[in-house]
């Protein structure tokens, strides 16, 4: 507020002195600020730290946040509506676009839901490969999180290092699925392709070198006092609030709730793997950082077990009316040619009913709810994405903190706007 001109004359008015400043700030602390003391700041829709198109309407008193409301709704992909017009198998490439940092996890979640509707039995080799590539996707997604989170706070070197390692993973995905980001690798009933024979050695080399890289990131960040001070004690979320607001994944575990879908409600053969679930009860941005850094190491463990225990066998289920035959069969066997033609032109029918699949994505719990009316096209596909629910907790985490802390908190919940706005 600008004081009237006559009050500005005299030294005392210009320089109110330390006593007045303390009195003013104490008054502000005791009384809730009235509307004319606060200001509305719009962060986004294209702010670099919001990781996509998200607008945050922030009410500030000075630099302290007193209110925050996320305004989502800029992408309008209409993906759930589009799914209703596709055959079941054609929805798989759509699910890639939901969250471009973990396409394989989205593929898997969708495939699991449809397989549940069909009652399909998946061969063990396909399950191991699904687990292997899901964990590599988790590492890849967490690398982007760490890089961009560090860049938001001002540490650019870590960003460059993380993207260097991510590039290795994307090359592996390209060799396996033929695509770097939109992989569409998991299919209903199995996988799309048998991975090339030399890929396992490349994955092993990556997994051997990767723990040293994690140490390198930790060395860079955890000896940096700016990083420590920006993270510790910021964005606190209690376990009760986290459960009430629908938070899942690393933010939930950082608030002290020991729940991981991979361990507690296993899917795709996760019950055969040994790993720890990192939990912290501190509940701030720092705890979320620590939980994810430990998940890097646990994912490496799971990948190594998947490589060591990888069984021989088929990568698709034995269901000729659902799985496309391979090229050789199609050219030599009349039956296969007929199945191929029927699947491509008419799709395959799915028994009526509804099914929910649930997987642990890098950002949290991801559910696919698929409703079938017995035809070849899904009647309804609904995605429960972790970021959508976690965004509700942003106000609780930011209230009472400074405006600059919003950047740190958004980085710590690791949102991708593709999955929030559908």
């Amino acid at each position: 507020m600008t004081p009237p001109v006559e009050e500005l004359t005299g030294v005392a008015a210009i320089d109110p002195g330390i006593d007045d400043l303390i009195a003013n700030s104490a008054r502000n602390r005791q009384n809730p600020p009235s509307k004319d003391q606060t200001m509305i700041i719009n962060m986004g829709p294209q702010h670099p730290s919001t990781h996509g198109v998200l607008r945050l309407v922030i009410e500030v008193d000075g630099e302290t946040i007193v209110g925050l409301a996320p305004d989502i709704g800029y992408l309008h992909t209409g993906i759930e509506k589009t799914c209703e017009a596709k055959f079941y198998q054609q929805v798989v490439p759509m699910t890639d676009r939901i969250d471009y940092l973990c396409p394989m996890t989205n593929n898997l979640a969708y495939a699991l839901a449809v397989e549940k509707l069909l009652g399909l039995e998946i061969p063990e080799r396909a399950q191991y490969l699904r687990v292997l590539f899901n964990e590599l996707t988790r590492i890849q997604s967490h690398l982007v999180w760490l890089g961009t989170h560090a860049m938001d706070i001002g540490a650019l070197t870590v960003f460059l290092y993380c993207f260097r390692e991510r590039e290795d993973l994307l090359r592996i995905f390209e060799a396996v699925a033929g695509q770097r980001m939109m992989t569409s690798y998991v299919r209903v009933g199995g996988l799309s392709l048998e991975p090339p024979r030399d890929i396992y050695e490349k994955i092993r080399t990556f997994l051997k070198n990767f723990p040293a890289h994690v140490d390198e990131y930790e060395g860079l960040l955890q000896t940096n006092p700016i990083w420590m001070n920006r993270l510790k004690g910021v964005g606190y979320l209690s376990a009760e609030d986290a459960i009430a607001l629908g938070v899942t994944g690393p933010p939930l575990r950082a608030s002290g709730v020991d729940f991981d879908v991979r361990r507690d409600m296993p899917y795709s053969g996760y019950e055969k793997f040994q790993f720890n679930v990192p939990v912290s009860d501190v509940g701030d941005v720092w705890a979320r950082y620590i939980v994810r850094m430990q998940e890097f190491r646990e994912s490496v463990k799971i990948c190594l077990q998947a490589l060591d225990g990888l069984p021989e066998g088929h990568i698709v289920a034995d269901a000729p009316k659902i799985i496309l035959p391979n090229r050789e069969q199609m050219k030599t066997q009349m039956e296969s040619l007929i199945h191929h033609f029927k699947i491509v032109t008419e799709g395959f029918g799915v028994p009526a009913g509804e099914a929910t699949s649930s997987v642990e994505a890098p950002h949290g719990m991801m559910n696919y709810y698929v409703v079938s009316d017995g035809t070849a096209k899904p009647y309804r596909v609904h995605m429960r994405n972790p970021g959508f629910a976690t965004l509700q907790a942003l106000e609780t985490m930011c209230k009472g903190r400074l405006l600059a802390d919003v950047v740190a908190v958004i980085g710590s919940i690791d949102i991708v706007l593709g999955e929030i706005d559908r």
């Binding site: 989502i72 709704g73 309008h76 209409g78 759930e80 509506k81 017009a85 549940k116 509707l117 069909l118 009652g119 399909l120 459960i243 009430a244 607001l245 629908g246 709730v257 729940f259 507690d264 409600m265 269901a319 028994p351 009526a352 009913g353 509804e354 099914a355 929910t356 649930s358 719990m365 559910n367 709810y369 409703v371 009647y379 309804r380 609904h382 429960r384 959508f388 629910a389 965004l391 509700q392 706005d421 559908r422």
Partner: protein
């Protein structure tokens, strides 16, 4: 392959097959219909009872509301099916509550008083299906612009061209 005959349908049959299930016990009075299909428990409740049912399963240990969504069964009636997916961190189980609504009067009570996380989920259902939630603190569109006409996920919403 899946055999449709393996599903247990009807309240009586489900309650006899799973008498020890926590959600079944909690909703013994409130549920009007039940289904156990593909290892998933679905309990139907009348729309007046949804808040009471939500409170009952919450007290029975289902502490986490995962999702609220809807299915539009146009043109059959009752038209809308609202599905609540509720998880228990301790029991490691989930239950699906279902409310059926007529197309004419698509409105029911909000469960934001039981789970605050229902706030965004219900706004999404309101925006995309046009189902009204009474007692919701901030029932506005969440994805479409404020002045958008119609509700895109309804089955009678035109997919191509102008109406």
């Amino acid at each position: 392959m899946y055999d449709p005959a393996s599903a247990i349908k009807g309240k009586q049959a489900v309650f006899e097959a799973h008498p020890e299930n926590t959600a079944v016990k909690a909703l013994a009075d409130l549920a009007t219909d039940a289904k156990f299909d593909r290892a998933e428990l679905t309990l139907t409740v009348a729309r007046e009872n949804i808040v009471a049912a939500a409170k009952a399963v919450q007290q029975a240990g289902y502490n986490f509301l995962e999702d609220v969504t809807a299915v539009d069964w146009y043109p059959s009636e009752p038209r809308f099916q609202i599905s609540y997916s509720i998880l228990s961190h301790k029991l490691k189980e989930r239950v699906r509550l279902v409310v059926r609504l007529d197309g004419e009067d698509a409105a029911l009570d909000s469960i934001t008083s039981v789970w605050p996380s229902a706030n965004f989920y219900e706004r999404e259902v309101f925006d995309l299906f046009g189902v009204h939630f009474g007692g919701h603190p901030n029932l506005r569109r969440i994805m479409m612009p404020e002045d958008w006409k119609g509700h895109p996920l309804r089955k009678d919403y035109p997919v191509e061209g102008y109406r």
